[in-house]
Amino acid sequence: MTLVAVLVVAAALIGVGVWGVLSQQSFVMVMMGFELALNGVMLAAAGAWRFAAGGEPKGQVLVIVALFVMAIEAAIGFALVVAVYRRRQADTTEGIATMER
C-alpha cells in the first residue's frame, strides 16, 4: 500500500466517474458519476495526507471539504432535477435542449 498504488486506484475511480458523467443520459445517473469521481478525489487526498504530508491535519480537512462538496452537489442536484422535471417534464439530458424557454 504505497502512495502510487493509492493514487492509481483514485485515478481509476475518477476515470470511471468521468465516463459515467459523459455517457449517461439521465440526470440522476450523471450525478452518480460525479459522486464517483469525488470519491476518487477523496481517496487521493487521504493517500496524499498519509504518505506525502506526514499526517498534516489540513490533509484531513481537505477530505472533509470534498465531503462538503459532495453533499452540496447532491442536495442542489436533486432539487434541480425535481425543478426541471416540474417545469419541462424532462428527466434526461436529451429532454432539455436549451437553458431558456
Binding site: A5, V16, M32, L36, I72, F78, R86
Partner: protein
C-alpha cells in the same frame, strides 16, 4: 499499518471499489446501481481506515449510506426501469465517454507514476483524530464556518427550488405545462399575448 494482510485487504477493497463503480453504469436495475455505488463508497471508506484516517473512513460510511438511500428514492422516482425488469441502454456519445474516461484515468495515473512525489511518514499515527479535532476547531474554523453557511444556503436553495407553495399561493397556479412538440410556440409566448376578448381595466 503495514504488513501483507493490510496490502491484501487494500487491493481487495480497491478492486472492489473500482469494479462496483463500473457496475453502477452497467446494471439495468437502478436500485442495484445505487447500492453498488454505496458498496464502492464503503470500500473507499474502509481503505481510508486502513490509511489510518479512521474518523474520515467511518464518517464516509455514515454519510454515504444516507446519501445513497436518498438517491435510491430519487432513482425510483425519476428513472425509468428502476427494478431492471427490462433491458435498456441509456447512453449517449458512448465512444467519446469511454475515451475521455480512459484518458482521465491514464493521465492521472501517469502523473502519479512518473512524478517525484514526496514521501513523509506519518508523524503521530495514534493522534490522527485528536489532530483533526484541534485543526477543525483551530485554524480551519473559518473554513468550517464558511461551509456551514454554504450548507445553510444549499438547504434554503433546495427548498426554494422545489417548494410547492410560494409566498402568494400555490407555486404552479396560473402556469401551464410546456408543449410536448419542441417546434411549437412556447406556452409563455402564447400566455404573454394580450387576449383580444378581455376587457381592459378602467382609466385613472
Amino acid at each position: 499499518m503495514t504488513g501483507w494482510p493490510v496490502d491484501v485487504a487494500f487491493w481487495v477493497l480497491a478492486v472492489g471499489a473500482v469494479w462496483f463503480g463500473w457496475r453502477v453504469f452497467r446494471t439495468d436495475s437502478m436500485v442495484r446501481a445505487t447500492f453498488a455505488l454505496l458498496v464502492s463508497f464503503l470500500d473507499v471508506g474502509a481503505i481510508m481506515v486502513l490509511l489510518l484516517a479512521e474518523y474520515l473512513g467511518v464518517a464516509l460510511f455514515f454519510m454515504m449510506a444516507v446519501e445513497m438511500t436518498v438517491m435510491a428514492i430519487f432513482m425510483v422516482a425519476y428513472m425509468m426501469n428502476p427494478a431492471g425488469l427490462n433491458p435498456m441502454q441509456m447512453v449517449h456519445q458512448p465512444r467519446v465517454a469511454v475515451v475521455a474516461g480512459v484518458l482521465a484515468a491514464a493521465g492521472l495515473a501517469a502523473v502519479a507514476w512518473f512524478a517525484d512525489l514526496p514521501s513523509v511518514a506519518l508523524v503521530a499515527p495514534q493522534d490522527t483524530i485528536r489532530e483533526l479535532g484541534l485543526e477543525v476547531m483551530g485554524e480551519s474554523m473559518i473554513l468550517m464556518q464558511t461551509a456551514g453557511i454554504t450548507l445553510l444556503a444549499t438547504m434554503i436553495g433546495a427548498v426554494a427550488l422545489t417548494a410547492a407553495h410560494g409566498r402568494f399561493g400555490e407555486a404552479t397556479s396560473g402556469s401551464r405545462p410546456p408543449r410536448l412538440d419542441p417546434d411549437a410556440e412556447p406556452v409563455e409566448q402564447e400566455m404573454a399575448r394580450p387576449d383580444p376578448h378581455a376587457h381592459h381595466g378602467g382609466h385613472g
